[in-house]
């Protein structure tokens, strides 16, 4: 519901239209398998941006735990999670969206952080300061960044 209201507001031309149309973290609709059919923004993801987010320590830092052969220039690829080569063959876009947004919906107890969630944490901090989070606490990645990452992962074919 909220989404369509926001979309309506956006279409009427109020400020911050692109963000207002985003599905907020609490409203993301996961199906029984943990997949998310609906785009979080309505704007197709940009795979080039996605690749940057995946490799950047300051953004997704996916490479801290996963290896991707298609990103040979990103050093120190981790070995905590499965390799992502071929992820675009193994998963649908909806499944990828669900895994990136909150992998715990599909894999109970997984170590993977939820990148599009803003509540339900134990002692959340203000980024990496060690101090308590304040009311600006948002998801680790923005809605469009999630879409960009999903678009990039979908390009990883064997």
């Amino acid at each position: 519901m909220k989404v369509s209201v926001f979309a309506l507001v956006a279409s009427v031309g109020f400020a911050a239209a692109a963000h207002a149309a985003d599905v907020i973290p609490g409203d993301v609709a996961y199906d029984d398998y943990g997949a998310v059919e609906q785009s979080l923004t309505g704007t197709p993801g940009n795979p080039e941006e996605g690749a940057k987010i995946v490799g950047s320590k300051k953004l997704g830092n996916c490479i801290a735990c996963h290896q991707i052969s298609a990103l040979p220039d990103v050093p120190w690829q981790g070995e905590i999670g499965p390799m992502l080569d071929g992820a675009g063959d193994r998963w649908t876009e909806a499944e990828l969206r669900g895994i990136v947004a909150n992998a715990k919906m599909m894999f109970e107890g997984t170590m993977m952080p939820a990148f599009y969630k803003d509540s339900g944490y134990i002692r959340p901090g203000k980024a990496y300061t060690g101090k308590a989070a304040d009311d600006t606490l948002g998801p680790i990645l923005a809605a469009q960044q999630i879409e960009d990452v999903v678009a990039y992962l979908a390009t990883l074919k064997e």
Partner: protein
């Protein structure tokens, strides 16, 4: 392919990866100054035998050069701070005009103290760390100012007291009056804190031997603390390291010296029962 099958595949891949990585810690032995044999891997204590078979010192997860630095006191930069603490040990301070040595004798008399801390101290009615005992001495025996919990004076003194127990097995008691604190520490160890929702166990029990970006994950044993880190070129107190770890989960940390970190130190210390005291160790 059903999601279940895919999920199973991912789980299986993760299991295979982590099993393979168990070979990652090096096969090497540590003898300090050609005379102190250090146990760097041994059978896990009974209380954690369902979690891991073997406990391993962080020394086994570091590179060749870093490992070599710890094998000789002339190459171990941490020993400079031990020497500084030795002077402090023998110097009177506070209203009572007493030094540590006036009551305890030579610093070498403290051999056997480090391996059993943290422990329940009957007279205090609580579990105490070495730092808490040092400050109790300073305040109540010496009439001196307390030291900052993870400050330079304190970490140097814990390095001195550790150094004289090197080679002795860690033997932290987990039962009796310490048990409730130990249970609290265990809860903290397995709690997934912060926005990244990571527990100590996620990295140090489930993934030791694996690389997380540029870091080679160890078991997070604390038998080597305080530890000289090449990264910040100083001695690091164990609870300062805890604070850094919790911060890196994007969590609100606990303070060094807090009841939560005292409990966690007791619990993590007990996970290394049987490993040798190594402090001051050398790490990256």
């Amino acid at each position: 392919m059903s999601n279940f099958t895919k999920g199973l595949g991912v789980c299986l891949a993760a299991v295979l990866m982590s099993t393979g990585a168990f070979a990652d810690p090096v096969d090497d032995t540590l003898v300090i100054n050609e005379e102190i044999d250090i146990v760097t891997r041994t059978a896990a204590p009974a209380h954690m035998s369902d979690a891991v078979d073997e406990v391993m010192s962080g020394w086994l997860f570091r590179g060749t050069e870093t490992r070599a630095m710890e094998a000789d006191d002339f190459d171990n930069p941490g020993m400079i701070f031990v020497e500084q603490a030795e002077e402090v040990w023998n110097t009177a301070d506070g209203a009572e005009g007493k030094s540590c040595a006036d009551c305890h004798g030579a610093s070498s008399e403290m051999a056997g103290v480090r391996p059993v801390y943290p422990k329940y101290v009957e007279s205090a009615g609580e579990v105490r760390t070495l730092e808490m005992q040092i400050n109790d001495c300073r305040e109540n025996r010496m009439g001196a100012e307390k030291w900052k919990y993870t400050g330079g004076d304190m970490v140097n003194m814990t390095a001195l007291i550790s150094s004289v127990s090197r080679g002795m097995p860690v033997n932290v008691a987990i039962d009796g009056p310490a048990q409730s604190t130990w249970e609290q520490g265990k809860d903290i160890y397995y709690t997934r804190f912060g926005q990244l929702e990571l527990s100590c166990a996620n990295c140090h029990e489930d993934n030791y031997g694996n690389m997380i970006r540029a870091d080679h994950l160890s078991q997070g044993q604390i038998n080597g603390f305080p530890t000289y880190r090449l990264k910040n070129t100083k001695l690091n107190a164990v609870q300062a390291r805890f604070k850094g770890c919790v911060r890196d989960t994007r969590a609100e940390t606990f303070a060094p010296g807090s009841p939560e970190f005292v409990a966690l130190e007791l619990y993590v210390g007990s996970r290394g029962n049987g490993l040798s005291v190594e402090g001051p160790s050398v790490r990256n």
